[in-house]
């Protein structure tokens, strides 16, 4: 039956990519890998790219992506990757067009931290990856994750050993397409062992204006009592299509702290799903999104509270200019027996232009009674009285506006649990605002 479905979608470019490349993809000679790929291309083939008729894609139309014909990236590119943090305080991981660049990545890794490219791990036949690739999260996951699994080529497998408290920040930079219109499917695995502590800064940047499509899937496993700070900056060029799925599982008394700053891309969808699987687990899923021109910025979150005594906090702020469109979909599910859940979510959006648009769908689905859950959602323009007050004190309108937007966005940044990196994000926000002026 699945074969039939694959065939029925042969005109789908991604199915063609699979058919053409399946024998040369990493791990092609390993049975479990090729089986997994075949199963997932069939899953993808059942629907193809989701349309707005699919509830979860109601506000984000992939039609534009469908129209472009991105080739599957196949060769390594050696362009220079720009890092942002000082080398001596960080560990570096570099990617160009979705491929790991060993030359530009740190060579010496401290005890307790292991880094491997995803391609190398697969080719080596690391069967433990199978567990991460077939986690509970991926049952019934979106066609794009299935597509990723079918075509996954490279990425990273980062393992922080139990008890390791990493002082250095791990900076991961993904440099986009250099010339031709390419597509790639990155697969990342982050394992934070028991009682470990680590901070990751992941950045997507570009040094060209070429269009490309990066379909990323990241599996995050936060072990018991571990604390993982996972901060991301998406500043791709305005022709790029970026779809990123993050699937995190959080263990007992562990904390997953995620922040995402979304400023780039023609279309970006960041889908973050967290399973709070053991008692006292918690997550902070925060972020800020800014868009201008004809950008489309989508944040979709899904938090599953599966057991009693778990907590999630979500704060998102959006600023939309030009003809941009912002989408926020946030779902909190409290499963039966997940008593004493605390779940709070807020999404606030400022519209800076007459043609910007925001669509929001904050959703609560609650099957346990002893819970405290809330969500708040607002959208509107800047507060005139505040603006006037500042102007009356002598500030120019532009300065007043900039300060207000900055203050507005700062509230999300301040939710980051590792305060050391907050300044880095404040600076990025200022930079974006300066570009607007």
């Amino acid at each position: 039956m699945s074969e039939a479905n694959v065939i029925s979608l042969t005109d789908d470019p991604f199915v063609s990519h699979y058919s053409a490349a399946k024998d040369s993809l990493p791990g092609a000679d390993l049975g479990w890998v090729s089986d997994l790929r075949a199963k997932n291309i069939a899953l993808y083939g059942q629907s193809g790219l989701p349309t707005p008729r699919v509830e979860d894609w109601k506000f984000t139309n992939l039609n534009l992506l469908n129209k472009q014909n991105f080739a599957l990236s196949s060769a390594a590119n050696t362009a220079e990757v720009p890092f942002a943090l000082e080398a001596d305080k960080t560990l570096r991981i570099a990617f160009v067009e979705g491929r790991f660049s060993a030359e530009q990545s740190s060579k010496n890794w401290p005890a307790g931290v292991s880094l491997e490219s995803f391609a190398a791990a697969l080719e080596k036949g690391d069967e433990s990856l199978n567990e991460e690739l077939t986690r509970e999260h991926h049952k019934g996951d979106t066609p794009l994750v299935a597509l990723n699994t079918a075509l996954m080529t490279d990425g990273f497998v980062l393992t922080i050993a139990a008890g390791t408290e990493l002082e250095e920040t791990i900076e991961i930079v993904h440099l986009g397409s250099q010339s031709a219109e390419l597509s790639w499917h990155s697969r990342n695995v982050i394992r934070a062992g028991e009682k470990s502590r680590a901070t990751i800064l992941e950045r997507i940047v570009d040094s060209s204006e070429s269009a490309y499509f990066a379909n990323t899937a990241t599996t995050v496993v936060v072990g018991d009592e571990a604390r993982l700070h996972h901060y991301r900056v998406q500043a791709a060029n305005s022709a790029a299509f970026l779809i990123s799925h993050t699937r995190a599982s959080v263990g007992k008394s562990a904390c997953y702290d995620s922040f995402i700053l979304n400023t780039g891309a023609r279309l970006a969808r960041n889908d973050i799903a967290v399973r709070l699987e053991a008692e006292q687990s918690s997550c902070h899923i925060n972020g800020a999104y800014m868009a201008d021109g004809d950008q489309h910025s989508d944040i979709t979150t899904h938090i599953d509270h599966l057991v009693p005594n778990t907590t999630c906090d979500e704060v998102f702020k959006g600023v939309l200019a030009g003809k941009s469109r912002g989408v926020f979909q946030g779902k909190i599910v409290v499963h039966q027996d997940a008593q004493k859940t605390v779940g709070n979510q807020s999404n606030r959006v400022l519209l800076l232009s007459e043609t910007a648009e925001v669509d929001a769908k904050p959703e609560l689905e609650i099957f346990a009674d002893d819970v405290i859950c809330s969500h708040g959602c607002t959208s509107g323009q800047m507060d005139d009285t505040q603006l006037f007050y500042m102007q009356a004190r002598g500030l120019s309108k532009e300065t007043a506006q900039r300060l207000l937007v900055q203050a507005f966005l700062s509230e999300a940044v301040e939710e980051m649990q590792n305060e050391e990196l907050q300044d880095f994000f404040f600076a990025l926000i200022e930079e974006w605002l300066a570009q607007q002026a």
Partner: protein, 485 residues
């Protein structure tokens, strides 16, 4: 798929031929046989002696209905409805000799109302309410009609309006809820049996609260009410609708349509208390309540306010909505939805802002108990031209017991910078501390739950007209009986 559809249609056309000279001519029959086909539609129309244009409209709706899919996006879980297993028309036995006053109304009916705490007579005398009682599908009593007539107000059954005021019905019926809007509304358009029609002329403030009490009686009768209410320029009307039904063993289908039209400066207040049979603890026998209610603020400065207290039915699928077309128009939606036992409710509203400086306010209070599921589903859409639009939404859910569910699914779409949209939602359980405090003061647990929940709903209940508010408070407490301890 297409082939199957064709087959179905062919078979149906054969059946139509067969029945062409069959029972359709027997319009003296009191009830139509079980099932649904074009002949049933013709039968209903003929039974009501309707003009050709009405029949054509019904048939158009019926044909469209056959092509439509059941809406499946709600969180309601139920077996597919066998539309051929229901009756679509029945008239009360005493049709021929309609009661001239309330004294002649079936005492059984009056007793049912009494259980609800509002004996009709008392209601009439005390509150000066004009009551249009819909018993089964046909109006059996109308009062105060003459009085209203003097002011030019038309308040009658929709059947009567089709005969007496065809120009108004033609103009407005389907103008807010087109027959093809959704499958349930489409079915109603084809087979609606009765309902109310209200027209308030320019500059008239309706002096009394207009009310209709609905009740389902005959076994296996799907009830398809149709209400059309037009408030012309500078007019005001408050309309109350309340329902209760005696116990039944089989699911009963109900698909009502309500259309409201408010012209310049007009105001319509529409209040509902719904307490139909919810079924037993496992959900058997309750009413399936699929309602399409929509109003349009057509004129500038017009206002539509929906208030609902939903405590009954096995399934509730209902989203009283407002299209804010006129500039400076405003709309409100106040809702209390209580589910207990095995009830399921998926209810909320849509506020579609098209005009400038339009305002909407949504206050929704959901209470889930037993093993019920209660969903708020709402849409706030601000169109690109809705300069200065404002929406405020507050959705609170309260859980009583650990086997029920409370869900909040709001959609917010803002295309205008100068619009301000605010949405807040909370979910919590009924607090042990509050219950202990009440009980320490001597209030038994079940009453304490009723008291705390009534407090939780107060903001909505106080929007109801006085006599309804009292009934609603009782209902809130009654609905939660057996949910604690």
């Amino acid at each position: 798929m297409a082939a199957t559809q064709e087959t179905v249609e062919q078979v149906q056309s054969l059946e139509q031929d067969k029945y062409k000279y069959g029972f359709v001519t027997e319009i003296e029959a009191e009830s139509a046989p079980k099932g649904l086909n074009e002949d049933i539609v013709r039968f209903i129309s003929a039974k009501k002696n309707e003009p050709e244009w009405m029949l054509e409209w019904r048939l158009k709706a019926f044909r469209h209905w056959q092509t439509m899919e059941e809406p499946e996006w709600s969180k309601l879980n139920f077996k597919p409805i066998d539309y051929q297993d229901a009756y679509y028309y029945s008239a009360p036995k005493s049709m021929e000799d309609r009661p001239q006053s309330l004294d002649e109304v079936d005492p059984e009916l009056l007793r049912t109302y009494e259980k609800l705490g509002i004996p009709l007579e008392e209601q009439k005398v005390l509150a000066g309410v004009a009551v249009d009682v819909v018993f089964d599908s046909v109006s059996v009593a109308t009062t105060f009609k003459e009085e209203l007539k003097e002011q030019g107000i038309i308040f009658c059954s929709i059947s009567e309006a089709i005969q007496e005021h065809p120009e108004l019905v033609k103009k407005y019926m389907g103008s807010v809820v087109p027959y093809g809007d959704n499958k349930h509304a489409c079915l109603n358009s084809a087979v609606f049996t009765d309902g109310s029609f209200v027209y308030i002329p320019k500059g008239v403030r309706c002096p009394v609260e207009l009310s209709t009490y609905f009740r389902i009686n005959a076994e296996n009768t799907g009830q398809f009410e149709r209400t059309l209410l037009i408030a012309d320029e500078d007019s005001y009307v408050s309309y109350l609708e309340g329902c209760t039904a005696p116990q039944r063993d089989e699911h009963q289908l109900h698909a009502a349509v309500v259309e409201l039209v408010a012209m310049d400066n007009a105001e319509i207040k529409y209040s509902t208390v719904q307490n139909w049979y919810p079924g037993d603890q496992d959900g058997n026998g309750g009413i399936y309540n699929f309602v399409t209610k929509r109003g349009i603020c057509r004129g500038d400065h017009s206002k539509i306010s929906w208030t609902q207290v939903e405590t009954g039915s096995a399934l509730t699928w209902k989203y009283p909505s407002t299209i804010l077309k006129g500039d400076h128009s405003s709309a409100e939606f106040y809702s209390v939805a209580i589910t207990n036992g095995a009830q399921q409710a998926d209810t909320g509203t849509k506020m579609i802002h098209l005009g400038k400086n339009t305002r909407s306010r949504i206050i929704s209070k959901g209470i889930s108990a037993g093993k019920s599921q209660n969903t708020y589903r709402g849409l706030v859409r601000i169109g690109a031209k809705a300069e200065g639009a404002r929406n405020f939404t507050q959705c609170d859910s309260l859980l009583v017991g650990d086997r029920c569910g409370a869900h909040t699914v709001p959609y917010i779409e803002n295309k205008n910078r100068s619009a301000r949209v605010e949405h807040e939602a909370t979910t919590s359980k009924i607090s042990d501390d509050q219950l202990f405090y009440c009980r320490q003061r001597g209030i038994p647990e079940e009453e304490a739950v009723g008291l705390v929940v009534n407090g939780f709903c107060r903001e909505v209940l106080q929007e109801l007209p006085m006599e309804f508010a009292v009934e609603a408070q009782k209902l809130v407490a009654i609905s939660l009986e057996g949910s604690v301890g």
